[in-house]
Symmetry: C2
Subunit: 160 residues, 2 copies
């Protein structure tokens, strides 16, 4: 069993290493320096999309103690301007971050438990990008948030 466990650990380590170098690559190719806090934040965000700066800080702190919350804010801000992560700001919630960028997907937010899910656009690719009357605006982005009850909160409210 020890041997098996060791070999599993070895596989996990190789995977983690491959993952780490992929993450480092994506940071580097965004034109940013690769640092420990950046690796830690991007790795945490991979495992927990739609996370707040504070939640990521908690995750990062456990495997890289000494990282400051301000560093997490700084990392997320540089990632965001580099196009490496996307920032969403649902009403009544702190800003959330996700690695899925470049498509125009939208979000479902549960009004009860605040869980967030990604959804693709209703009408194809660039649907909501054209309002009925743009009133002279040069529209660059459309942001859509669907508010409702997620499946498990529907179940819970049905059986209180």
């Amino acid at each position: 069993m020890t041997t098996t466990r060791a070999s599993h650990d070895g596989a996990a380590l190789r995977l983690a290493a491959a993952d780490a170098s992929l993450i480092a690559d994506s940071i580097r190719s965004a034109g940013l320096k690769v640092t420990a806090p950046r690796l830690a934040v991007l790795r945490a965000l991979t495992g927990m999309p739609h996370s707040s700066a504070d939640a990521l800080f908690g995750a990062v702190r456990s495997d890289l103690p000494g990282t400051s919350l301000q560093a997490v804010y700084g990392v997320l801000s540089s990632f965001s301007t580099a196009g490496l992560v996307r920032k969403i700001e649902p009403a009544g919630s702190p800003a959330l971050f996700e690695r899925r960028v470049g498509d125009n997907h939208h979000h479902l937010v549960c009004t009860r438990c605040n869980v967030v899910h990604d959804v693709d656009c209703v009408v194809g690719h660039a649907p909501c990008l054209t309002p009925a009357d743009a009133l002279g605006f040069d529209v660059r982005a459309a942001e859509v948030i669907y508010w409702g009850l997620c499946a498990s909160c529907q179940a819970e409210t049905a059986h209180p």
Copy 2:
């Protein structure tokens, strides 16, 4: 000229009075007590839609000094739960309020000057209310914000 002005003032006063009583009526019929701060806030909001609590506080203070900012927050919160006003929270901005409620209209926000305009929905009445895959959510509302440059900011950025 004095007579004319007086008659205009009279008309304006009658209009203002009619307006004030209409505003009082809408507060009352929302099941809320009619108070001076509420009248002042709702009147200010009529003249300046898409205003923040702070902006409304500024407007209200000038014709009802002694009103506190917290009172404005309280007024807006009771209006909001009574369905008398709608609260929108564009990313990076304090919450904004408007009297136009009950339809599912959306918003155009200028990324440069932050001006907000209302727009009707793209695909008819309840279009965006149906995401491609709701993932088990019971969707109750869809919020759409279009980000772009308003006409005058386009002109200004073209001629810097």
